[in-house]
C-alpha cells in the first residue's frame, strides 16, 4: 500500500529518467544498429573513412542502386546455406525442448515429493553439474564419440544438449513443483491413483506455467548454444550460431562479413519476438530459483 510517504524530488526523478534512457540506449542500440546495417553493403556498414556512410548509404546506392539492399540476406540464405543451418537449429531445438521437459518434469516431481536426504544431495549434485563449463564436458565427449563413430550427427548433439540442460531444468521445475500443494497428490493417491497417474492427471494440468517457463529456457539454451554445436557437429550439420562464426573467416580464408551480419539479424529476430510474448514467464523462471529458495 502506498500512502504517498515516499516523496521523490524532481531532481531525483529527472536523474532517474536520464539514467534509464542512457541504459536502454546502451542495451538496445547495438541491435538496432546491426539491424539497420544489415541492409547496407559492406563498404557502408564497415567504413573507415566516414561512419555517416552507414546512414546515407553512399556505397549502397552506387553498388545496388537503392538505399537498402537485401543482398546480404538472400546470399547468406542461399549461397551461404544458412537455410540448412536454420533447419538444423529448428530440429535440434524442438527435440531438445521436448525431451528435456519430459525428463525434467518426471525428475523434478520426484525430487519435490521426496522427503529423503538423498533428494537434497541430488539437487546439490545437479548444482555442481550446472557449474561445469560446457567446454570441459565437450573435451570429455570428443574422444569417445570419435571412437563410437557418433560424432558429427544431430542426434548426438541433441542428447548432449538435453543432458547439459537437465540440472537447470530440474532446479527450475523443482521450485515450481514445490508451490503445488502436497494435499493435491495425497487426495489423488487415497482415491487410488498410482504415482504416475497422479503426476499425469492431477499435477501436470496445474503445472503448465512452470513447464512453459522451463521450455523457454531449454529453447534458449539449444538455440543459442555455440560450444557444443561448434565442436560436436560436422560442417554439414552446423546450426545457426557456429554457421555465423564460419562466415567470420579465419587467417586462412576470407570470410563474408555481411553474411554474418545478416545471419546475426536472422538468428536474433525470432528470439526477440519470442521473448516479447513470453517475457513474464522468463522473468518468473529466473526468479523462481532465487526467491522461493
Amino acid at each position: 500500500m502506498d500512502y504517498g510517504l515516499d516523496k521523490k524530488t524532481t531532481s531525483l526523478k529527472t536523474f532517474n529518467t536520464i539514467f534509464i534512457i542512457v541504459w536502454l540506449l546502451i542495451a538496445c542500440f547495438p541491435f538496432i544498429w546491426t539491424f539497420w546495417g544489415s541492409f547496407k553493403v559492406r563498404a557502408d556498414f564497415f567504413s573507415r573513412s566516414d561512419w555517416w556512410y552507414a546512414i546515407s548509404a553512399f556505397n549502397t546506392l552506387i553498388e545496388t542502386g537503392g538505399k537498402f539492399t537485401t543482398n546480404a540476406y538472400s546470399q547468406a540464405w542461399t549461397e551461404g546455406e544458412f537455410w540448412k543451418a536454420s533447419k538444423n537449429t529448428v530440429i535440434v531445438t524442438i527435440f531438445v525442448v521436448s525431451i528435456s521437459l519430459f525428463l525434467g518434469t518426471l525428475g523434478a516431481y520426484a525430487l519435490s515429493r521426496s522427503t529423503k536426504n538423498y533428494a537434497f544431495w541430488l539437487l546439490i549434485l545437479a548444482l555442481i553439474f550446472r557449474a561445469m563449463p560446457h567446454i570441459t564436458l565437450v573435451s570429455g565427449y570428443l574422444f569417445p564419440f570419435f571412437e563410437l563413430q557418433i560424432w558429427g550427427i544431430l542426434p548426438t548433439t541433441i542428447v548432449v544438449l538435453v543432458a547439459i540442460n537437465q540440472p537447470f531444468t530440474l532446479w527450475l521445475l523443482y521450485s515450481f513443483f514445490k508451490t503445488v500443494p502436497r494435499e493435491l497428490d495425497e487426495s489423488a493417491l487415497i482415491d487410488g491413483c498410482s504415482y504416475f497417474q497422479t503426476f499425469r492427471h492431477i499435477i501436470m494440468p496445474v503445472m503448465w506455467p512452470g513447464v512453459i517457463t522451463a521450455g523457454l529456457f531449454s529453447l534458449m539454451l539449444a538455440y543459442n548454444d555455440f560450444t557444443v554445436t561448434a565442436l560436436l557437429l560436422n560442417q554439414e550439420n552446423h546450426t545457426m550460431v557456429p554457421k555465423i562464426q564460419s562466415y567470420l573467416g579465419t587467417n586462412q580464408h576470407e570470410g563474408n562479413l555481411m553474411w554474418a551480419v545478416s545471419s546475426v539479424v536472422s538468428a536474433t529476430a525470432p528470439l526477440f519476438i519470442l521473448v516479447m510474448f513470453f517475457q513474464r514467464q522468463i522473468i518468473s523462471g529466473l526468479t523462481a530459483g532465487a526467491i522461493k529458495g
Partner: protein, 342 residues
C-alpha cells in the same frame, strides 16, 4: 514418495546426467594422463652420382598405424600437467633461479600460456561480477521507481543483452567498436590516431571484453533483484521514512538486508558463468591478447593437425578444480545448514 517410485521417476534424468555429465568428467580425467603419439621417423638413404645422403622423414604409414592401434595416445602420467603449456613446473624453477628481481620473475611466469589464461579469467571474474551486481541493482531500483504502465517495454529492452548468445552479443558490439565501426572510427577521429584500434592494445582488449561482460550479465542481476524488490515489505520502509531516514539509509539498512540471500545467489551464478568466459574472445577476435582457460581448451580441440586431447583434458581438469575452489564456500555452508536442520 517410496524409494522405488522415486527411482523410476528420477531414472531418465539421472541416467542422462550420469552418461553425459558424470562420465565425460571421468573421461576427461583419464584422457589428461595420455598424450598424442610422437611422429615416427625413419632414415631414408638417397644416393645419386655425387654420393649418398641420409635424411630423416616422417613415416606416415607407421604413425597412422600406431595412432589407430592406440587412439588414446601414449601414457604420460602427470607429464601433461607439468609441461610448458600447463603448470610449467620446470620453467618456473628455471625462472626462479635465473631472474634477479621478483618483478622479472612474475613477468616471465605470466607469459606462460596457462598462467596468462588463468590471470585473464580471474581478472574477468573479479571485475565483471561486482559490477554486474552493482549495475543490476541500480537498474532494478531505477525501474522500480517508474510508473507501472511503462515498465513492460522497459524491461524488454533491458533484458535484450542477456537473451542473445554471447557470440552474437559480442559480435554486435565488436562491429561497432572495430576500427571500421561507428564507435571505433569516431574514436580514431577524436583522438586523431589512425592506428588506435582494439587489436593494437592488450589493455583496450581486456577492458572491452570486461565491458561486454558487464553489458551481457547485468540484465540477469537486474531481473532477479527487480523481483526481489517486489517482496520488500512496505511497513519498515514507511517507518524509516517517518523516522527521517534518507533514501540511501533506507536502501542500506532495510532493502539490502532483505534481499541479501538473493545477492549471494546472483553472485554465485554470475561467478560460475564468468569463469567459463570464452565466446566473447572469439566474437571480438581477441585471441592475440586475451585468452581464457576455456579458450585454451577450445583451441586444443580445434587444432588443425591432430586434436590435442590430452592437453585439452589437463586444462579441463584444472578448470574444474578452479570451479570447485569457487564453489567450496557455498557447498560447505549448505552442508552446515543441512546438518543443523537435521
Amino acid at each position: 514418495m517410496p524409494n522405488k517410485t522415486f527411482f523410476w521417476f528420477f531414472l531418465p534424468t539421472g541416467l542422462a546426467m550420469i552418461l553425459f555429465i558424470g562420465l565425460p568428467i571421468i573421461s576427461t580425467g583419464i584422457q589428461s594422463f595420455y598424450a598424442q603419439h610422437d611422429q615416427i621417423v625413419k632414415e631414408v638413404k638417397k644416393c645419386d652420382p655425387f654420393g649418398c645422403t641420409v635424411s630423416i622423414v616422417v613415416d606416415n604409414e607407421e604413425t597412422s598405424k600406431i595412432r589407430e592401434a592406440k587412439p588414446l595416445g601414449k601414457f604420460n602420467g602427470f607429464g601433461t600437467y607439468t609441461d610448458r603449456n600447463h603448470l610449467a613446473v620446470d620453467e618456473i624453477k628455471k625462472f626462479w633461479n635465473e631472474t634477479e628481481s621478483i618483478n622479472a620473475f612474475i613477468d616471465q611466469v605470466t607469459n606462460l600460456p596457462f598462467y596468462k589464461a588463468l590471470i585473464f579469467t580471474l581478472t574477468y571474474c573479479l571485475f565483471v561480477t561486482p559490477n554486474v551486481l552493482l549495475l543490476g541493482f541500480i537498474i532494478a531500483l531505477s525501474l522500480n521507481a517508474v510508473a507501472r504502465k511503462i515498465r513492460g517495454p522497459l524491461i524488454f529492452g533491458t533484458i535484450l543483452p542477456m537473451i542473445v548468445t554471447p557470440l552474437v552479443g559480442s559480435l554486435v558490439l565488436f562491429w561497432m567498436i572495430d576500427s571500421q565501426g561507428i564507435i571505433g572510427a569516431n574514436i580514431q577521429n577524436l583522438m586523431n590516431d589512425p592506428y588506435l584500434s582494439l587489436k593494437s592494445s592488450k589493455t583496450l582488449t581486456w577492458i572491452t571484453i570486461i565491458i561486454y561482460g558487464i553489458w551481457h550479465h547485468s540484465p540477469f542481476a537486474f531481473v532477479v533483484f527487480y523481483a526481489a524488490l517486489q517482496t520488500v515489505p512496505q511497513e519498515p520502509v514507511e517507518a524509516a521514512i517517518i523516522d527521517g531516514a534518507s533514501r540511501f539509509q533506507r536502501i542500506k539498512h532495510i532493502v539490502l538486508p532483505h534481499i541479501y540471500p538473493v545477492v549471494t545467489f546472483v553472485a554465485l551464478i554470475s561467478l560460475m558463468d564468468n569463469f567459463r568466459v570464452f565466446e566473447p574472445i572469439i566474437g571480438f577476435s581477441a585471441e592475440g591478447s586475451a585468452q581464457s582457460l576455456s579458450w585454451l581448451i577450445y583451441d586444443n580441440l580445434v587444432n588443425e593437425e591432430v586434436i590435442l586431447f590430452g592437453s585439452a583434458a589437463a586444462t579441463s581438469i584444472m578448470t574444474i578444480v578452479g570451479i570447485a575452489i569457487l564453489l567450496a564456500p557455498v557447498l560447505i555452508r549448505t552442508w552446515k545448514e543441512f546438518r543443523i536442520a537435521r
